[in-house]
């Protein structure tokens, strides 16, 4: 489901296979354990994590079919993704998502959990699909979106119109850092970017945690705001 390899001092985590890389409990466990290995092995090295994928998809979000067949798995998938994202946010080394295919909903969120996003220009969309499929978006998704997308109108277009963003549009909106001609070029650019980074010391992860504090504040639960507002006895 995912491999972890070392290229020089860089770690490359690849979601393998031609499928949609839906974030099922199993794949989230695999990603989680890869990230933990990166954390353990990078403690003495000046390293970078690159996350990428094979095939047409980076990740198409949660495994909704699995959840429909067993709804008790939805909170499981959410808990596992939140754990992966919290781990990425506290990782003591820089992280780069080399997006070589479609990233939607939770898959888009996974990409945005990295410090840098590089994306192929020739194919693939970033897409918060929740509005189109009638799914709720938890508050922690929104907190993450807010750390990545500074323009209020861009946030509205991503969340309230479920806009399908090409790499070029995403670069204009400031969500993606750079766009590249093909999947291979995107990964090479990520490797090059990683090799240029030279960060000594152990404070990087702590600083990132502080920069993304609002996400960490709400990542402990999946509740949406309306549950909270309605339960507070407001007269709305």
């Amino acid at each position: 489901m995912c491999t972890l390899e070392k290229r020089g001092r860089l770690f490359v985590l690849t979601l393998t296979g031609d499928g949609e890389h839906r974030l099922s409990p199993a794949i989230l466990d695999a990603i989680g354990s890869a990230v933990r290995r990166v954390r353990a092995e990078s403690s003495s090295s000046n390293s970078v994590l690159i996350t990428t994928s094979e095939g047409k998809f980076f990740s198409n979000g949660y495994d909704l079919d699995l959840g429909k067949s067993d709804p008790s798995l939805f909170p499981v998938m959410s808990a596992k993704l939140r754990s992966v994202v919290a781990d990425l946010i506290s990782l003591p080394i820089p992280t780069i998502a080399a997006v070589t295919g479609h990233a939607s909903a939770a898959g888009f969120i996974l990409a945005m959990s990295h410090d840098y996003i590089l994306m192929r220009r020739d194919r693939g969309f970033l897409y918060m699909s929740e509005l189109d499929i009638g799914l709720r978006m938890p508050a922690w998704f929104m907190a993450l979106i807010r750390t990545r997308i500074g323009s209020p109108a861009a946030r509205r277009d991503v969340v309230l119109t479920a806009k399908k963003l090409t790499a070029t549009e995403a670069v204009e909106m400031g969500i993606v850092d750079s766009a590249h001609g093909s999947a291979a070029e995107t990964v090479e650019a990520a490797v090059k970017l990683g090799e240029e980074m030279n960060l000594e010391g152990h404070v990087y992860g702590r600083i990132r945690e502080m920069a993304m504090r609002e996400v960490l504040d709400v990542i402990g639960f999946d509740e949406t705001v309306s549950d909270v507002v309605r339960n507070s006895g407001s007269k709305l």
Partner: protein, 255 residues
């Protein structure tokens, strides 16, 4: 004070009275709020759009201080009613578009910003936070809305700390015009989505945008929930203000 009509799948709420400043008195806020509730409870609501507009030279010139500025309990009452209206608009299960056909100041500027899209006539009218000039404080729940709707720190400063009078073009320039974003910095400051020529054209453009949004076929209830999450901090501030006596004190009541 305000009328409600339906054109195709677009509800149009209009503040009426050509020579009127459409001041947001307690009665007017109540009237707008109950009209919005009528939209909410219409069976077609979740497959429609709401356009808010006004007749005449003013969209709205803010709160009604004709009874005198020193009546703090009146100010507190208008704040409370405006909070309820904001919460209503923010949780509404359909997209909202403000067709700004005249001046919108202070509380009314905030009311405009409660909408998902803002279209404004290019030839006349200002958006204007008058509080600095009127010696009024901006409450936390209004500031939270400003913060979420105006991304650029420089634009926020101009609006809030200098009471800048913005034309439609200046407002559109402060970040976003119809979908183009502030490139490399990624932090557009925009308030207004499009500047249109004249009042009628602005409303027409709003109706067209509304029809376009509806034709995408999403569920208004899901849309409304997503908007609540987008504007979570504003709802949090509104709820916390409604339930906290500290907020009452900060709204300059003598409690």
């Amino acid at each position: 004070m305000c009328t409600l009509e339906k054109r195709g799948r677009v509800f149009i709420l209009k503040l009426t009275g050509d020579g009127d400043e459409h001041r947001l008195s307690p009665a007017v806020i109540d009237e707008i709020n109950s009209t919005v509730r009528r939209v909410r409870s219409d069976p077609s609501a979740s497959r429609s759009v709401l356009v808010t507009t006004a007749e005449g030279k003013f969209f709205s010139n803010g709160y009604d201080f004709s009874a005198g500025r020193s009546d703090l309990s009146l100010l507190h009452l208008m704040h409370a009613k405006l909070r309820a209206l904001f919460a209503n608009l923010i949780t509404l299960p359909l997209p909202t578009i403000a067709a700004v056909t005249g001046h919108a100041s202070a509380a009314a500027f905030c009311l405009v910003m409660c909408h998902d899209y803002v279209l404004m006539r290019r030839d006349r009218g200002f958006l204007y936070m008058t509080e600095l000039d009127l010696d009024l404080e901006i409450p936390a729940w209004a500031m939270s809305l400003i913060r979420l709707k105006i991304g650029s720190p420089a634009a926020r400063r101009a609006v809030v700390m200098t009471s800048a009078k913005l034309t439609a073009v200046e407002a559109a320039e402060k970040g976003i015009v119809g979908g183009a974003y502030d490139g490399a910095a990624g932090a557009g400051g925009g308030i207004v989505d499009g500047a249109n020529d004249g009042a009628a054209e602005t409303v027409e453009a709003a109706v067209r945008l509304g029809e376009d949004l509806v034709s995408r076929g999403f569920d208004g209830h899901v849309y409304g929930r997503m908007r609540e999450i987008l504007l979570k901090e504003v709802l949090d501030e509104i709820v916390s203000c409604d339930t906290s006596s500290a907020c009452v004190r900060n709204n300059a009541s003598r409690l």
